[in-house]
Symmetry: C2
């Protein structure tokens, strides 16, 4: 959080680490929704609206048939029944399809089952109150009603609504261009990180661009290139002699944070090159996944006008057994839901993505906690749609 | 459910309607996962795996460094401390990066903070137990562990896992080709349905192809064309003279069901052309959305190897007020969650997509129920991710 140059931690260790909440606040302070753009409705699923959409008129704008049948004056059906059909001449009984405007003077739509064609007109087999089978003006929504809020991630059904309003385009937040830079030479995990990060960025609405692996000089140059809204540097964030990612960021701009009190993921960093935020992600794939979800993804989502929180559902459940955690680090404990209880799969100390794949979700144990006893109620953040996992 | 030709309901009404559960069973009986295909991992997000993936070896396959530091023999650090550094010559203390295999004879990794370089070797500032800072063989997963189950909708983190396993491709269920045919001439709502249905099919993993509007003859011809795994016919399913969709399906193949005890959406139909299932969807956009989610989407999801249930989370909550429903129809009541309680937005009788857009989700009231009193506990199927809606 300081403008003075942070120390080179290689071979020395982190003198201190930034609290997770402070790292999130830093990201929030350096990201805001990008400008809006108009896109065709057919391609807008999953985009975030830039402004609220309100109904310009009542929906529907006038009374209309709510069903297929025969438009009539309700009064004319008074006393009709299966044993007492009432004959209406054709000019007082107009066949009508659902959605068509009511002919002048009519106020009800006889269902097909209660109408019988005869040579002299239509026989009415049921008495109707006025308004029966009619969709009233404004019944779907009154003029001025908010139909879609700003920041809505457009669902398929929303596209249908926009099309029924005869709109061709919708105003959405521009997708953030996210440059993913692999730091350093080849080491196990890096290519896997790039594949994963590109898919995570797309999931969160960003447009990923991948490059690397890059040495310190090439990395600094790629950090300084224009045309990215956010840069993620992956790998080489730790304490080894080859951990040049923080140095390259300091070369190109400012290293504001290095070391976050988060496990896995504690070697993550944050900084700026000009106005562009940069997130340094650990190369170990399990740590990379966690640091993306909690930090980098937050920036992608905010830039794209989406809710900043992770796009995962949460559930409140009880722990089946103890979850041990170290004080001083927010720890991500991967868990499964078994018989309605929270079963640990892997503590924050277990590396790799096998634990993430086998987990239904995770419990984030706060830095000030030593862990949770068996039977404690916890919030589980679900990787999996809870409808399928529970 | 019969092979005899169903009656033409136009101008007459439905003699009876098929129960929603029976319509779902019919779809389940006529759909099964398509064959598998291998796809590159980088493009596999959101695809459904065709088989379980098990770990071929222990992960990691051998002990390795869990952190950056210095590989040592734990025994040699016995008694070391800040005030009692122990000097190890360079051949007994090897700098190591996280993920690298342990040199022979070493069994612990000294953290960087506990190691100090001196001209004569490395000064050890802390005593370590054997295994400290070491990732044990099989710690992430033992050989034979199921890492990804069959039918898994691949998450970004799963792609990372597959890449760390050095796989180039993954075997997934082929995406179903879904032909969307608009029935009949232009009428308000039809184009909106096509946009919405294409996006819904894509959401559920299908490959949509749109055509129409088509008259009865053209519709029957398009139904009979090969190369679709599923056909959705949209519009012209009701009781009006122009409601030719069921007739065209009977012309081209078999109309097995017409009329489902579901509201909105009661004019939906089911049938076959050869082995290809066909779902008739009402043209009214609100009814179309419901019939897609409950019926057509089920077929798309099953063909694509996904869970058959709707891809929506569910929550159990109490109603803030009474929800009225008609006996004999499964009714979809669009609701919002306000202050933790279920507030009705629109009953099944309200048409259009404005109610769907404004709702957080819906309550499905069973056919045998007259509705629900205030304070009743109900299952809400959430359009919106519950993490954001609640």
């Amino acid at each position: 959080m300081t403008e003075t140059r942070l120390p080179d931690v290689r071979g020395r260790g982190f003198p201190s680490r930034t609290a997770l909440a402070d790292a999130m606040r830093w990201l929030d302070a350096h990201t805001a929704p990008l400008p809006a753009e108009a896109v065709p409705i057919a391609g807008a699923a999953g985009r975030a609206t830039s402004a609220a959409l309100t109904a310009a008129t009542d929906l529907p704008p006038a009374d209309r048939a709510a069903r297929d049948g025969v438009a009539v004056t309700a009064e004319a059906t008074l006393g009709a029944g299966g044993y007492n059909p009432i004959l209406l001449p054709s000019d007082q009984a107009t066949p009508i399809s659902a959605g068509e405007p009511l002919p002048p003077g009519t106020d009800a739509v006889l269902p097909v089952e209660a109408a019988q064609l005869s040579p002299l007109g239509i026989e009415v087999l049921d008495a109707l109150p006025a308004g029966s089978g009619v969709e009233r003006r404004g019944e779907q929504a009154r003029a001025g009603t908010v139909l879609l809020p700003a920041g809505r991630i457009l669902r398929p059904q929303d596209l249908g609504l926009l099309a029924t309003l005869d709109l061709d385009t919708v105003s959405v937040v521009r997708r953030p261009a996210v440059r993913i830079l692999l730091a350093g030479g080849p080491r196990q995990g890096d290519e896997a990180d790039a594949v994963m990060l590109a898919a995570l960025v797309e999931r969160d609405g960003g447009l990923p661009e991948r490059r690397g692996p890059l040495d310190r000089e090439a990395l600094a140059a790629a950090l300084a290139e224009p045309a990215a809204d956010l840069v993620l540097v992956c790998g080489r964030t730790g304490l080894g002699a080859d951990d040049i990612a923080p140095l390259a960021l300091a070369d190109a701009g400012t290293l504001a944070v290095h070391g976050v009190a988060l496990r896995p993921g504690d070697s993550a960093g944050l900084g700026l090159v000009g106005p562009v935020p940069v997130v340094l992600l650990p190369g170990e794939p399990g740590a990379c996944a966690v640091a993306y979800d909690l930090l980098a993804g937050r920036a992608v989502r905010r830039l794209g006008g989406r809710p900043a929180d992770m796009p995962y559902a949460t559930v409140r459940l009880r722990t089946a057994r103890k979850l041990v955690s170290e004080i001083g680090f927010a720890e991500v404990y991967r868990v499964r839901i078994e018989g309605g209880a929270v079963e640990p799969v892997a503590s924050a100390a277990v590396a790799g993505l096998a634990a993430v794949a086998r987990a239904d979700g995770f419990v984030l144990i706060p830095a000030e906690s030593e862990g949770l006893p068996a039977g404690a109620e916890v919030t589980v953040t679900m990787y999996e749609d809870p409808a399928h996992a529970l």
